[in-house]
């Protein structure tokens, strides 16, 4: 299973194994990773599952859809080039050593 490393804004790191095909948000919640709130449970309505991907993973995750792009403008911490809503990113077998940084706040 692909390994994902979550990095909190204070630098704390946690590594998990995640099943391919699940969303990064679901994998994080299932492993009790703090900081991914996901109020709407993945229906892309809340923008509280915001993460920053490392460049390689951002590339592998592919382009974001127009509505995700739009919603990222409303995340609590301003978006950056590799920002994604983690409920919209599917874990793939190609994600080797993905590093996913969690913003300081989601609200």
């Amino acid at each position: 299973m692909p390994k994902l490393t979550f990095v909190q804004s204070d630098g704390t790191r946690m590594e998990i194994s995640a099943e391919a095909g699940r969303s990064v948000m679901e994998a994080a919640i299932a492993n009790s990773i703090p900081g991914i709130v996901a109020e709407c449970g993945g229906s892309m309505a809340c923008a509280t599952c915001h993460v920053f991907l490392d460049d390689a993973t951002a590339e592998l995750a592919g382009p974001l859809a127009a509505d995700e792009d739009d919603m990222l403008d409303f995340s609590a911490v301003p978006r950056r080039a590799t920002s994604r809503l983690s409920c919209q990113v599917q874990v793939a077998d190609t994600f080797k050593g993905a590093v996913i940084t969690i913003p300081e706040t989601q609200v």
Binding site: C40, A45, V107
Partner: protein, 393 residues
Amino acid sequence: MAIGVRSYDEVSLAQLRADPYPTYRTLRAEAPVAWLAPAGIHLATRFDDIMRIEKDHETFPALDLRSLQIKAMGHSLMRRDGADHGRQRRALDPTFAPGVAKRHWQPLFEDIANDIIEGLYEQGRADLFSDFAAPLASRCLMHILGLTQIDWRDLCRWSQALMDATGNYGDDPAIWARGKEAYDSIDRAIEARVPELQEAPDQSAISSMLHAEDPLDMADLRANAKVIVGGGLNEPRDATCTAVLGMLTNPDQLARVREDETLWRIVFEEAVRWIAPIGLYPRRVARRVEIGGAVLEGGDAIGLSVASACHDEDHFDDGERFDIFRKRSPHLAFGAGPHFCLGTWIARMQVGQIGVPALFHRLPNLRLDPDHEPAIEGWVFRGPTSLRVVWDA
């Protein structure tokens, strides 16, 4: 009533309406899932239990055919689950997405807010509930729906009638009759607009439902429009008054907001956390399950008290206090899970970015009217019912 659930009857409905928060505090500590005897419902009061319920729609579906909401408004997206719910929600996204709120609705709603304030300014005093918050919410909602031809006062009346029918547990025939009248009036208003919106689509909810990639049929469209009438008026109205009340009773916080206008966003979130406009909403229990130390049986219904969750001491210190500088933490005033409020982004903009700041910008020395205490009421829905203010016109 399920076996293994503690029954709680040390409060009356009148006490809950006056102030439910002391009861919630007791329930969170002693019986976080309880049978609330005077109301005849199970109630979940802790944040974490409600989150768990909202993440498990197989066990706790929104569909309950006994629902009075279905009787009052028809079978809308609010009482659907899974793919059936998802498709209706997607049809409405072009009206409610955050970018649409900002680009499309914001300029229009700013004009409405300014127009209402213009009309009040010379008076030097007002009841912000009836003179500002209600007309603002109603006039905005006419545009959101696409029913631009109606009178905003009628929309207020219809909304209240539908909400009263949804809460008509006492089966009062007069309430059903008013609900039916509102139901029929809304259907006639929709019918009058559909041909125009068929021809010339716009950003409104009715237009979005007509022109969706997977279009909704008329029964779905009508039911969803009614749930938007019922859910899109009182909540932004009450949140407006609550936010103003929070500011006027905490002048130190208001002073900081005047220095840093980006804080209006937090003022809004803290207001709906402090007094959640929708205090509770129901879910059905599909199978026997243990939660909050109680056992519920398949077929039970349970109320999720998001108002209580928003004061849960495990998530908020001193939850009764209005404090925009409290530690930032997610609240549950917009619900959670697939039914997370569809109007969230519009409400944040309409109330938090436009309505409330406009009052403080435009009405010099705005303050509470010393001769009239604000009144706050309700537990299923809660908010100020009168908010008299004065300013230096």
